[in-house]
Each structure stands twice: as C-alpha cells, then as structure tokens.
C-alpha cells in the first residue's frame, strides 16, 4: 500500500514538470506578437521590451525555462500584467473562495445524494423509488452551468429569494446567503451520481446473506438499512470523493462566472480572455496541482478499498 502511494507520488513529479513545460511554452504558442495582443496599440517599445523580458522571450527557451522553474520553486509565479501584482498573491486571495465553494458543493451533494439514495433503497420497487431514480438520473445529466442558470431563474429572477451575484458583504449571514445558490448549482450533477451510487450499493448490501439473517430474526427493514447496510455502503462513496472534488473543481469555473464570484476558475477565465500570460500560467498551475492531488486521493482511496490493488 505504502509502495503504491510512493509510486504514484513519484509519477506525479515528472507529470507536473511537463505541465510546467506546456504552460511555459504558452508564450511561444499563443498566436501573434505578445506585445501587440497583450498591450495593444498603445504599446511603447519600452513596454514591449519589458514584457518580453518578463515572459522570458528575450533569452533562448531553455534558459528561460530554467529560470521559470527556479522561480516556481522559490514560490515566485511571476507578476500579473494587468493587475501588476504578484501572481501568487492574486491567486491566494481568490483561492479560499473556490475552496469554500467546492467543499460546500461536495457537502451538499453527499448529504442530499445519500438521503435520496437511502430513501430509494428503503422503498425499493415502489413508485417513490422510480421517481427518485428518475430524479437522480436527470440531475446527474444536468450540467453545472445549466443548474446555475435555472437556479438563478427560479430563485433570483422569479422569487427574488437568492442573490445572483457576488459573495456578500462579509457578514456570515450574507456570505451564506450568497453561497446557497452557487453551492447548490455546483452540487446538482454530483448529487445524482451519489444518489445512484448509494442506492445500488445499499441494495447490493441488502442482498447479502447476513442481512437475510437479521431479517429472519424479525429486525425491521428500516433498522437493517440504516444500521447495517449503511455502514457497508458508505465505502464506495468515500472512494469516489476524490473523483468528485476533481469534478467540482471543474464545475466551479462555471459557477464562479455565472454568479460573478471571485475564485480560481473565474481568475483563469478572465486571465485567458485578457491574455495575461503569467496569471494564466500561475492559475492553471495551481488548478492542475489541486486537480492532481484530488485524483491522487481518489486513486489511493480506490486502492484502499479494493483489496486487489493493495496486493500489488
């Protein structure tokens, strides 16, 4: 097990290095003259020169790449062109919002998903279950941005219950108020998946022999479900959380744009639009790191729960 983790970690390092290489080469890959595109018409030769040196375009690429790597290790991700601040600072300022959003979305998805799945398993073969299954299916195939748009449509435009923009004015209540819509939108797709996962693993557990024994002794079904089946069924859900975080990180991009919230996703989209190259690099790097970590957790939890891989 330990060997497996170490192996995976070692594999991650060259991956990240290649990612960095790709990001670094963006300055060469983006079409057009960077000075023109980024600075526009009013660029003076001095500004263009400064830009070029910032982007490392004035030196041979391997040199620039090395400098780039060295800087990264030192924690210097460059300076944003348009915000004129350290990229790292900019990212760190908005990152917490994304983290909170993602965690809230995950929490909602797990809570709602398990509840729906439990209900469906308890009332197996009834109309309620068929409706719930259909509902899970529909939510699982609802893209995050559509969920966001529909939520805004219903709760903001129609009923004026929830704010559709921003993160609130800082107070706890306001923050939460502004968090509901986005977190809910983010959670929708994952909720359906968790619900279906819960339901099927509960039903699978219910089929097992020891459940039959408990049933034969007169223990009522709801008790069997909540106490005995649930504990066993939680495993696959935990195994899948890493995967979910990865997915939600992607969905956060849309949610942040739609609801006009600050966050890493929004930052990347904006910086891509602005062609703020250092910011793009830094943002994508951090996003990729988070994503890789989430996937690593996912792989490790899969391995933990699947005895076959453990033995490798």
């Amino acid at each position: 097990m330990f060997i497996y983790i170490t192996k995976r970690l070692l594999w991650v390092i060259p991956t990240i290095l290649t990612v960095l290489l790709i990001l670094f080469s963006l300055s060469y890959l983006l079409p057009g003259d960077p000075a023109d595109i980024i600075l526009g018409q009013r660029a003076t030769p001095e500004m263009a020169e400064e830009l070029e040196s910032r982007l490392g375009l004035d030196k041979p690429w391997y040199q620039s790449y090395l400098i780039y790597l060295q800087n990264i290790i030192k924690g210097d991700l460059g300076t944003s062109i348009f915000r004129d601040r350290s990229v790292l600072k900019v990212i760190l300022k908005v990152l917490p919002y994304t983290v909170i959003l993602t965690l809230s979305g995950m929490g909602l998805a797990v809570f709602n998903g398990i509840s729906i799945g439990l209900l469906a398993a308890n009332y197996n073969n009834s109309y309620l279950e068929k409706i719930l299954t259909l509902f899970s299916f529909i939510t699982a195939s609802t893209p995050t941005y559509i969920a966001g748009v529909l939520l805004i449509l219903i709760f903001s435009v129609n009923f004026n219950l929830l704010p559709s923009i921003g993160i609130g004015d800082g107070g706890i209540l306001s923050t939460l108020h502004h968090l509901i819509g986005p977190a809910l939108a983010l959670s929708v797709g994952w909720t359906g998946y968790i619900a279906r996962l819960t339901r099927s693993s509960m039903l699978e557990t219910l089929d097992q022999e020891f459940i039959q024994t408990e049933k034969s002794f007169g223990i009522p079904r709801y008790y069997i479900l909540y106490k005995y089946a649930l504990k066993k069924a939680i495993k696959p859900i935990i195994a899948v959380i890493g995967l979910g975080i990865g997915r939600l990180l992607g969905g956060a991009v849309f949610v942040e744009v739609i609801f006009n919230r600050p966050g890493l996703g929004r930052l990347i989209v904006d910086s891509v639009n602005e062609r703020d190259l250092p910011l793009v690099r830094g943002g994508v790097l951090v996003a990729a790191l988070l994503f890789v970590i989430a996937n690593l957790i996912a792989d490790i939890s899969y391995a933990y729960f699947d005895p076959r891989i453990k033995q490798k």
Binding site: T15, L26, P143, Y145, I146, L153, V253, F254, V269, V272
Partner: protein, 291 residues
C-alpha cells in the same frame, strides 16, 4: 474458417445484446431522443417553421406565440428554428469528438499494451499529463492557443477525452493478452497483428461503446458550456451553448428565453446517457441475472 467463426460469435453477441435492450425501456427512451436530435440535425432545413437567420427588430424578445412557438430572441429571430438548427453543431461535436477520442485512444492504447516498454510508458505519461488538468481548463487554454471554431472545439474535446479510452483499451488489452484463448491462438501459429486483433478488439469493443455513450453527452455539455462562457463557438455561428449565452444577458427581461436551449441540452444529454446505460446493462453479463 477461423476468422468466420469469430465473426459469427460476434454477431451472436450483438443479437443477444439487442434482444436484451429490446426489453429495456431505457433503450427506447434514449434511442428515441437520440433519433429526434439526429433528425433535427440532418433535416433541419426541411422541418424548421421559419428562417433561423431572419432578424426582425420589431419582434424582439417576444414570448411564445402561434407564430413563434418558443418566442423570439434579442434580434427577433425565431427561437424554435434556431434551436433545431443548433442540433447540427451538437451532433457534430458529439460524434466528431468521440470518433477522434476513440480512434486515437484505441491506437495509443493498443500500442501501449502491445509494444509496452518505453513506448508504453511514454504513452501512459502523455495520458497522465493530459489528465493532470481539469478538463475545462485544458480545453480553455488549448482553445486560446488555437482559436475557437467548430473544428478546433471538436479536435480539442477529442484530444482531452482521449486518455480515458487509451487507458481502458490498454488495460483490457493487457488482460486479454494473458487470456488462454490468445495463448491457444498463438500456439496455433497466429500472427500477432492479424488474428489477435480480431480476438481482442471485439472484447474491448463493449467497454468502449458504453464509455462513448456517456462521453457523447459530456462533449455536448462541454461545447455548450464553453460557448456559454463565450469561449467556444462565436456568433454568428450558433449552438445551444451560444443561445444560452445570448439568453443569459436577457434573463431579467425575458427569463423564458433561456429555458429552451437549456432544455435542449439537458434532453440530449439525458438521451445519450440513458441509452448508454441500457447498453451498459445489456453488455455486462453479470448484471443480466435477476434471479
């Protein structure tokens, strides 16, 4: 003689799968929706009630009416007609993207499993690098390099999703390689490429088929999402995502407008995933036993 036997067994498997799916309401439901979308895409010019490009500034942002079943958009164009026409890029993206993913994935996966060694490791590494990025962000960045257009969206989506197929093909090929019947075939003097491809490919076919069903839904979702962010197809090109973006600007004044492309996207995704689900159950022998 050997080859025709394989094919016969393969055909039998297909017949069995179809028989199982005939009993599954999901196959019909999903299949119907997919048919609907395909028909809209292919026969769009013949079934649209109005000209999707015709603007009419006097009839902007109108709600549903007898003339315009879904109302008109910000330029007075009939939404229903635009919706039907937008099925075209959706279908192109879904099928085009999947074809690219599957073909490249199969080639690379087979190479990685069969040749193994350094080439295999390099291929795996390529997969891992692609998978290190959250898909949306990778697509975003690549689009910014190449520039948004229908073709670039299809190719980029294809490349982004490709690792999934590559890994599955590689894993299954590796395990099939060790199977007894492959050893038996080899002992009979089977040539590596020819007969073993005929053995292995049909077996991985099942997993690939199911995955592609689900991924087609995802591709449609991504294209729409990108266009919604303004980073995918650009007007005057239109897709459901573009319509979504246009409607979003008017969400306060004409809230109903955004519902139509949203429903179109959801319905299509639902259709593909439902059909894929029924395919998955039919192809998996273990799930077939209810007794």
């Amino acid at each position: 003689m050997f080859k025709s036997q394989k094919f016969f067994r393969f055909k039998k498997k297909i017949i069995r799968v179809i028989k199982i799916m005939k009993n599954d309401y999901k196959a019909y439901l999903g299949g119907l929706i997919i048919m609907l979308i395909l028909i809209s895409a292919i026969f769009a010019p013949f079934i649209v009630p109005a000209d999707p490009y015709k603007t009419n500034v006097t009839k902007r942002l109108e709600g549903p009416s007898l003339e315009n079943f879904m109302g008109t958009d910000s330029l007075g164009r009939d939404i229903l007609s635009r919706l039907i026409y937008a099925a075209r890029p959706a279908v192109l993206v879904a099928f085009g993207g999947i074809i690219i993913s599957v073909i490249i994935g199969i080639i690379l996966g087979l190479l990685a499993a069969y040749v193994g060694g350094i080439l295999g490791s390099i291929i795996l590494f390529i997969f891992d690098v692609i998978r290190a990025f959250p898909p949306i962000i990778l697509i975003l960045v690549l689009l910014s390099i190449i520039g948004p257009s229908l073709l670039s969206v299809i190719v980029i989506l294809g490349v982004t999703i490709m690792p999934r197929y590559g890994r599955v093909v590689r894993a299954e090929t590796l395990s099939e390689k060790e199977e007894d019947f492959v050893e038996a075939a080899r002992s009979l003097g089977a040539d590596n490429s020819r007969i073993i491809f005929k053995h292995i490919l049909p077996n991985i076919f099942a997993s690939v088929l199911v995955l592609s069903g689900m991924d087609m839904a995802s591709m449609i979702m991504w294209e729409a999402g990108l266009s919604f962010l303004g980073l995918g197809l650009q007007p005057p090109l239109s897709s459901w995502g573009v319509m979504l973006q246009e409607s979003y600007q008017y969400i306060q004044t004409a809230p109903l407008m955004i519902v139509w492309p949203a429903l179109a996207i959801m319905l299509t995704m639902f259709g593909f995933s439902t059909f894929a689900e029924s395919l998955r159950v039919a192809l998996n022998p273990k799930l077939n036993q209810e007794v």
